[in-house]
């Protein structure tokens, strides 16, 4: 499996992401602190450019002890949202919040000496 450098970690601000086309592979690189995650830029729903979408924190509903709704809030989990139809995927797991079987395809990625390396699928 070939490893290809797509650039420097320092060029992605913490919490941000960039998307690259490496030959035929389109890949989104998401940075959290010194860690990076990478997913193929293909939404499993309809093939949309999911990694080119926006990041939103997961919306949660606050339920009181007597089961009433106390409104909505943003949770901590961060979602990448496909710009075609709004399908959301948890960045940490790649899974849709309502159907974990629907998930982004992870791409192997590593950081060495400040460089980001993407492993090209066979």
């Amino acid at each position: 499996m070939d490893e290809i450098s797509v650039g420097r970690l320092a060029d992605i601000p913490d919490g941000d992401y960039r998307i690259f086309a490496v030959e035929q592979l389109e890949v989104g690189i998401f940075r959290t602190g010194s860690k990076v995650l990478a997913y193929e830029n293909v939404c499993p729903h309809a093939g949309g450019p999911v990694c080119q979408g926006k990041i939103f924190n997961k919306v949660e509903e606050i339920i009181t002890s007597d089961k009433k709704s106390a409104g909505l809030r943003f949770g901590k989990a961060r979602h990448i949202v496909c710009p075609w139809h709004g399908y959301e995927y948890d960045l940490a797991t790649g899974c849709h919040p309502g159907d974990p079987s629907l998930r982004l395809t992870p791409v192997k990625v590593a950081v060495r000496n400040g460089q980001i390396y993407v492993s090209m699928p066979e």
Binding site: V6, R18, F20, A21, G47, P49, K54, V81, P83, G86
Partner: protein
């Protein structure tokens, strides 16, 4: 950060091609948004008619106002300018701005991309970019915010706005692109004005049918509409009922979330109109009038077919014009595919069988709206054979609307599809 890597690296190996892709926002070019779809489209040679896509008429509202028939209404519409985002005289509906899921789907928010000015109308450029990306041969366009104009309390405003929109579309937009077609807006709250509109555009080849926006409280079987249906039937062009949503509707106000209201609303209006249409024997009164039901998906159809059949068999005296079961009339109607329900493919397959999708179903994208479908909504269905896919994607519509099919795309064409020259790929500028 790398955006481009030289092809020859130090070790003599060819360096990989690397480029950076943009994040998508409201200024992103349609061709970039739909780049993945374009890749798919290049891999096949389907003839595709998109029977339901949309223009954004409010982006060109001053041009539409200019075409209003009355100076008084022109003045009224212009007086709204500068008093907020809602264009003058249009009734907006609660939730209209919820559609982009609060910024998550930028193309629904706004297509704010650059489009070269000059002789090609910006709306035409936007449609051409979408058609070429999706691999579509003909696109039938409808308005967007005007889908709720039927709820306007002033019938005369629907007439003024509807007529002005029709003029704008047929004078300024359609003549520039022969691949764009329209099913013109009928101001249905004013039956006589509808008849005038039908007659005015009967010979316009870009006008391939007429449409009623379903979001309204009017019984389609009312006697006042019989001259209208006669007039449409005489043109040989179909009549479409294009559904929509309205959160101001008291029934819909029970839904506290847009998702709930939107999911029900699009079916709700068409289910009522179709029921009235059948039970009052409209297919018997106008046997040559072809009817299309647009943007309600398909899952409601097995329900209403069975429900009406069951009740009809017990209460046939209330539907004396019927000579067959309701479901048999429904099977003669046409339906657009979007938004195609696919979460249970067994149910989808059964639905396709129930409505005779091979001959009656018409592909629709609904672009640029947030719940749009791509041609792969049809091509990826495992239970359809190749011929059925080609029929649904384009040949059924070609027969229904009498559209020319390019010779190289005639593979297996039936259903009245005719071939002549391919429609021009180049925009005709005026």
């Amino acid at each position: 950060m790398l955006t481009k890597t030289p092809r020859n690296s130090k070790n003599g190996k060819t360096a990989p091609r690397i480029s950076e892709l943009p994040k998508i926002d409201t200024a992103t070019d349609t061709r970039e948004i739909l780049a993945h779809a374009a890749k798919e489209a290049r891999q096949d040679n389907y003839f595709i008619v998109d029977v339901d896509a949309h223009v954004t008429e409010t982006a060109f509202w001053p041009d539409i106002i200019d075409r209003m028939e009355s100076d008084v209404y022109k003045q009224m519409a212009r007086a709204f300018k500068g008093r907020g985002p809602a264009p003058g005289l249009l009734n907006s509906t609660p939730g209209m701005l919820y559609q982009d899921v609060f910024g998550r789907i930028p193309h629904q928010q706004r297509l704010g991309e650059d489009a070269p000015g000059g002789r090609t109308h910006k709306q035409v450029t936007l449609v051409q970019r979408a058609m070429d990306s999706l691999g579509i041969d003909y696109m039938v366009v409808f308005p967007t915010p005007m889908l709720v104009l039927g709820m306007h309390p002033q019938a005369e405003v629907e007439v003024v706005v509807g007529n002005a929109f029709n003029k704008w579309l047929t004078e300024e937009v359609l003549p520039q692109e022969p691949r764009m077609k329209a099913m013109l807006y009928l101001p249905f709250n004013h039956p006589e004005a509808c008849v005038k509109a039908v007659e005015m555009y009967a010979d316009n080849s870009s006008v391939i049918g007429y449409s009623v926006t379903s979001t309204r409280f009017r019984a389609v079987n009312h006697d006042s509409y019989m001259p209208l249906y006669s007039a449409i039937q005489a043109t040989g062009k179909p009549l479409a009922f294009h559904s929509g949503f309205h959160w101001g509707d008291q029934s819909m106000q029970q839904c506290n979330r847009f998702i709930s209201m939107h999911a029900i609303s699009f079916v709700y209006y068409n289910i009522i109109h179709l029921t009235n249409w059948i039970i009052n024997g409209m297919p018997e009164r106008f046997p040559k009038l072809k009817v299309i039901w647009i943007e309600s998906g398909l899952a409601w159809l097995p329900f209403i077919m069975q429900r009406l059949d069951s009740e009809y068999m017990m209460r046939s005296s209330e539907a004396p014009l019927l000579k067959r079961r309701p479901s048999e009339y429904i099977r003669d109607m046409y339906f657009s595919s979007q938004p195609l329900e696919r979460s249970n493919l067994d149910l989808t397959e059964a639905t396709f069988k129930a409505i005779k999708a091979d001959t009656q179903l018409l592909f629709a994208s609904d672009w640029p709206h947030w719940d749009f479908d791509l041609p792969n909504a049809i091509t990826s269905l495992p239970f359809l054979d190749e011929q059925a896919k080609r029929n649904i994607l384009g040949f059924n519509a070609a027969g229904l609307f009498n559209l020319e099919v390019p010779k190289h795309k005639m593979i297996g064409a039936k259903n009245g599809a005719r071939t002549k020259k391919a429609p021009s790929r180049e925009p005709v500028t005026v």
